[in-house]
């Protein structure tokens, strides 16, 4: 059903038709799969890079001015690329790893690669929030740098890290919709194929509902977990 020949109300009604939704479960699964795997890859690499940025900061645990400046510059360059271009750039990389440049797994590489620099910056800004006094106290106790990172820096900033991760997962989700156009499947693929190419706006609407629900869920869970941690620590 299209908005071109039906009323908005009719399209909305049609978008709730179980027949449409039956066809959507598969793509929903694909979207969830892509979001989860890309987010996990982003989490691992983003955390590592974010921690390295934080400790090599001129005021950090192991100040390395040149390395900090250069990596900061590289990250800013990567971040200034539009996501669409990032996906195109990642095509050869995906081919190198999976032997083909399209499909879900190939797009996961592109999504993760594009979100890692952003997430690394978010991790850095969370870690920089720690009160310097806590690091000093840990140093005065005789902790080495590894214990300071693992036992003080990360746990103390955990609520903020979780909030940052939540925001980043949502941006991964929105990228999976974009990657749908490059053969990754998922909700984005459906939205483009039916909504844009065939003017089936009822299906487009259904995709929009799903994305809204997913974003709400992710944000809700993130908020809940980080709030719960703050509550446990009696900080709110």
């Amino acid at each position: 059903m299209s908005l071109l020949d039906s009323s908005l109300w009719d399209v909305i009604k049609a978008s709730l038709d179980p027949a449409i939704w039956k066809e959507l479960w598969g793509p929903i699964g694909e979207t969830i799969y892509m979001t989860v795997v890309s987010s996990l890859i982003m989490l691992v690499f983003g955390l590592i890079i974010g921690i390295l940025l934080t400790i090599t900061n001129p005021d950090g645990l192991i100040p390395l001015k040149t390395s900090y400046t250069v990596s900061g510059w590289v990250i800013n360059c990567l971040r200034s690329l539009p996501q669409m271009i990032m996906i195109i750039l990642m095509i050869p990389v995906a081919r190198l790893i999976f032997g083909k440049a399209y499909g879900t797994n190939a797009c996961i590489i592109a999504i993760a690669a594009s979100c890692i620099p952003m997430y690394a910056r978010i991790v850095e800004s969370s870690l920089l929030e720690i009160e310097k006094g806590k690091i000093e106290a840990a140093q005065a106790i005789g902790s080495n740098n590894l214990s300071i990172i693992v036992r003080i820096l990360l746990p103390e900033t955990l609520p903020s890290l979780i909030r940052g991760f939540t925001v980043s997962v949502i941006s991964v989700l929105s990228m999976t919709a974009l990657a749908g156009m490059f053969g990754a499947g998922g909700i984005g693929d459906i939205a483009v194929r039916y909504g844009y190419q065939r003017f089936q706006h009822d299906r487009l609407f259904a995709c929009v509902y799903i994305l809204i629900i997913m974003v709400q869920l992710i944000q809700g869970i993130g908020n809940l977990v980080s709030k719960q941690i703050l509550k446990n620590r009696n900080l709110i």
Binding site: E136, A137, A140, I141, G142, E156, L158
Partner: protein
Amino acid sequence: METYLKISDLHKTFYPHGKPLKVLDGINLEVDKGEIFGIIGFSGAGKSTLARCINRLETSDSGSIELGGTDILKLPKKKLLQERHKIGMIFQNFNLFDSMTVYQNIAYPLQIAGVPKEQIKERVQETAELVGLTEKLKAHPGALSGGQKQRVGIARAIVTKPDFIISDEATSALDPQTTIQILDLLKEINRKYGITILMITHELDAIRYICSRMAVLEEGRITESGQVRDIFENPNSKTGELFAKVFKLLQSAELTHGGGI
């Protein structure tokens, strides 16, 4: 008396915005083993910098710092971490770890020092009892009052049975009653374990209450040092005179109002 801390000709210059700022300008200081030694000075005099140089949280430019016969400034990095287990530090804003419970905060230095697991529990219990926190071991610092937080800070500083404690404005964020309790606790620790304490403060009463000897720090130099009573009665430096004046004013106020610390 055996000297425990001996600082000789210590210099430190910062370069904020590229301009040199002499913060420690030839510090000479001797603290005896087992005493509570006070350092008083106005804001910006360099007190915290001096404290931080002693356990090398801050680098020094030149001079020497001997602590129990060890030349701190010459220690290699690894040895320095071990040496720090023998130096407790207490801070004005406590610097407790919010992610840990009180128990975990107190246990942390023991874990870092590699104390066997079985002993940790016992030591934490014992220390918590000494500082009066047995009821609060499962709480997080966020649930504690300022005085209780500083008790955790003290417990964390003494749990490894250090020889020396640096207290940088430990009571400056506390109300008068709580200040007295915390000072009493420090006194008790000093007496019970013979721990040498360096008390850095800008509070006259705190020094008068628990220190035997003191030094006045003024623009990066020790302008006078000696018995607390002598300095209050017969000050020889600008800061000393000012403090003595304030002190006399306070005393006369106490007489008229009957107030304490």
